[in-house]
């Protein structure tokens, strides 16, 4: 049990968080919680992917002739993908920075990650507009429905990640993180990497595997 707990603030010093820094070693409660949450999100996407592959197997041709060239691997999603991958690298740079108490480096890196995340979203929205004008809508048969459902929920997760990065950035600028206490940063970065991995899977499936 920690003995430096005069002020009973949440997270850091509550009796339950006494376990969080884990005298016995191992990951802390919030990080384990995030890993489990990500497991559930993986299963959510698994359901959507299963529907995608089932639809793809049942409908010929796939892509349908009218959409044969609509999803282009080197279209706007290509720079978006590059940005998202780089943002995972910068995110990890930020985590490593705060682990060695380099607060300035941490804030820089997370700031860049946040910007890259927002740009990904903007490109995605722009791309949706282009696709809509080419006739690929949610109601455009299984091809359209699965495309927008998969990428849309991914986008929603990116948006959630952007919020988390924003909160982490704010708290970091307010000096709330140190090398000893930065669970929220670790958890956010794990989530951000997950979002990136899902995108790699989506990009490969929707744009390459087709």
């Amino acid at each position: 049990m920690t003995s430096d707990s005069q002020a009973l603030t949440t997270t850091e010093h509550s009796p339950v968080a006494g376990f969080a820094h884990d005298a016995s070693g191992g990951i802390s409660n919030p990080i384990l919680g995030m890993l489990l949450f990500i497991t559930s999100e993986v299963m959510f996407f698994a359901g959507l992917f299963a529907a995608y592959f089932a639809s793809r197997a049942a409908v010929a041709p796939w892509p349908p002739t009218e959409f044969e060239h609509t999803l282009e691997a080197f279209g706007p999603v290509f720079p978006a993908t590059i940005m998202l991958v780089i943002s995972s690298v910068t995110c990890q740079i930020g985590v490593n920075a705060i682990r060695r108490d380099d607060r300035a480096g941490f804030i820089r890196a997370i700031g860049i990650t946040l910007v890259l995340g927002i740009m990904f979203l903007l490109i995605q929205v722009f791309d949706y507009g282009l696709l809509y004008s080419e006739g690929l809508t949610v109601a455009a048969g299984p091809y359209g429905t699965t495309y927008y459902t998969l990428t849309g929920f991914h986008g929603a997760h990116v948006f959630g990640g952007v919020i988390m990065l924003g909160v982490v950035l704010y708290r970091g600028m307010a000096g709330q993180f140190s090398s000893r206490h930065h669970d929220a940063v670790e958890a956010t970065s794990i989530y951000w990497h997950f979002v990136d991995v899902v995108w790699i899977g989506l990009y490969t499936t929707l744009y390459w595997l087709r």
């Binding site: 409660n29 109601a139 429905t145």
Partner: protein, 546 residues
């Protein structure tokens, strides 16, 4: 910690706090009680819906339902409410109350998320029932097969089905958050000395259940989301009229809903596994085998979903038949372990034990009649008939509900500091046991002779009249059995016998603190050297048999 913490209220009045406390609490014990009370409210509502169904079916001819669609709404909401708003949260409630105590922790890992998980439920329930007020509640069965669940003429027109979808997404989110809470609590917050294989069995069953919830519920969420998109945005997932695949809904839906049945029964099995040893005065027989059997059921549970779809003509039958048969093996292991816990024990027939024994007998029947459906050709005859209604109620009511009542009688003293009356408890048990069997046993015969499910009325010359009437009488008997229960709770809360810390001579850590426990649970913990730390303390090491 105690020297610098503010003064704490005495344990005896710890639970009699004001409304504000109950609305804002993050204490797992209060949240557990909130879950239990909320779940009972939905149990009664779901029961009323069932009485509506049974009243109409008591005799051939449409007696009461001018709007035929209302019948479809009744059984749809009955199933939905019982599964998602009663049994799953009820077991979560017991887990919430008991698990942190049993592992010697001061609370769950994420107390505020715990509170959020609970409060999503009354909201979800409200949304579901709002359907009745907005043109008709969901009426496509709790299984909501597409295309009947689609927004099309003679399908599911109107907001009722959408409210159902959103309500269930809320319930699912609540469940998933709860499962994360349980897993982190169990893995990370056990008291010193409590290795995994010294955890109480209830904690093990909650662990496995939480894994199932974590992995399976999101798949239901994805199915619900996809159906919502179909209904409201012209989507083409499950609607053949749009190029979609109707059987795909069934696959995604049952991928969750089969593990769901284990979610609905494993914690009840855990509760039974705590109660049988206490009232036999010996340990659970085969603790480790039991743990492996539970894990086995959890794992196998993911491989059988298409046994709900044998008659679609679209599944690989032998695989799912084999896995379904195999899941009987770990279930049988548990049954024998329970029986041999009783064997050569010294049994005291308090109400918790009566309900536990009821569980054993009724779950045995439910498991056996399920095996018939595992034989695929037999399922061709039995699927979608009243045989299945019999099966599901034997395992879920005869099993889980009896387990819930066993748990209520067992842990009520811990939660409230007072004993429930034994006389009224026995009256409830007898009425409920007789009523339950009278309702559901005849359904085996009804299904075998060809009565399909989900029909508001049946031909008067089909030979089903007497059995349906018997089933309705049984249903009302079950309803009647709730009355002594409610009276028991009401009277005992006011003037039940004071329970003391350990009225049952229990085995596990919750009996090592006051009834009800103080907000932080334990003043001090006994040494933990086995799965029965309080038993060890009471009898010294010589009593543990190690």
């Amino acid at each position: 910690m105690a020297t610098t913490a503010p003064a704490l209220t005495p344990a005896a009045s710890g639970y009699r706090s004001g409304l504000y406390e109950w609305l804002t609490t993050t204490d797992h014990k209060k949240i557990g009680i909130l879950y239990v009370v909320n779940s009972f409210i939905f149990f009664f509502l779901g029961g009323l819906l069932a009485l509506g169904v049974r009243t109409e079916l008591a005799q051939p001819g449409l007696q009461f339902l001018a709007d035929e669609n209302l019948y479809n709404e009744l059984f749809t909401m009955h199933g939905t409410v019982m599964i998602f708003l009663f049994i799953i949260p009820m077991l979560v409630g017991f887990g919430n109350y008991v698990v942190p105590l049993q592992v010697g922790a001061p609370d769950m890992a994420f107390p505020r998320i715990n509170a959020l998980s609970f409060w999503m439920l009354p909201l979800a329930g409200t949304l579901l029932f709002l359907g009745f007020a907005t043109g008709g509640a969901a009426a496509a069965g709790w299984t909501s097969y597409s295309p009947l669940a689609q927004d099309r003429p003679l399908g599911s027109v109107g907001p009722g089905q959408d409210l159902w979808i959103v309500g269930l997404i809320l319930v699912g989110t609540s469940s998933i958050l709860g499962s994360i809470n349980f897993l982190v609590t169990i893995f990370k917050m056990r008291a010193p000395g409590m290795t995994l294989f010294r955890m109480p069995i209830l904690v093990w069953t909650v662990l496995v259940t939480s894994v199932l919830v974590l992995m399976a519920t999101p798949v239901l969420t994805s199915a619900l989301v996809m159906l919502f998109i179909d209904r409201n945005y012209g989507g083409s997932f499950f609607d053949p009229a749009n190029g979609g695949n109707a059987v795909l809904w069934q696959n995604v839906f049952w991928f969750y809903s089969h593990p769901a049945v284990y979610i609905m029964v494993l914690p009840a099995m855990g509760m039974i596994s705590e109660i049988l040893p206490v009232f036999s005065r010996k340990p659970l027989f085969g603790y480790k085998a039991f743990v492996f059997a539970t894990a086995g059921i959890g794992a196998l549970g993911f491989s059988v979903w298409a046994h709900h779809m044998f008659t679609t003509g679209s599944v690989y039958l032998p695989f799912f038949s084999l896995m379904t048969f195999l899941i009987a093996v770990p279930t049988g292991v548990k049954m024998f372990n329970w029986i041999f816990t009783l064997f050569r024990g010294k049994l005291t027939f308090s109400t918790p034990l009566l309900f536990a024994l009821g569980f054993l007998s009724m779950f045995l029947i439910g498991g056996i009649n399920g095996a018939f459906s595992a034989a695929v050709p037999v399922d061709f005859a039995l699927h979608d008939t009243y045989w299945v209604v019999a099966h599901l109620h034997y395992v879920l009511f005869g099993g889980s509900v009896f387990g819930v009542f066993a748990g209520v009688y067992f842990w009520f003293p811990k939660m409230t500091g007072r004993m429930l009356g034994e006389g009224l408890g026995k009256v409830q048990f007898v009425l409920m046991f007789i009523g339950f069997n009278l309702t559901f046993f005849p359904m085996h015969a009804l299904g075998l002779s060809g009565m399909p499910r989900r029909i508001a009325d049946y031909a008067s010359d089909a030979g089903w009249n007497e059995l349906n009437l018997a089933a309705t009488v049984g249903g009302f008997l079950i309803a009647a059995s709730i009355l002594p229960f409610l009276w028991n709770v009401f009277v005992s809360l006011r003037s039940g016998k004071p329970a003391g810390d350990d009225p049952w001579e229990g085995n596990t850590l919750e009996w090592a603190t006051s009834s009800p426990p103080p907000p932080y649970n334990f003043d001090h913990l006994p040494e933990i050297r086995s799965e029965r730390p309080v038993f060890d303390l009471r009898h010294g090491r010589a009593g543990s048999g190690h």
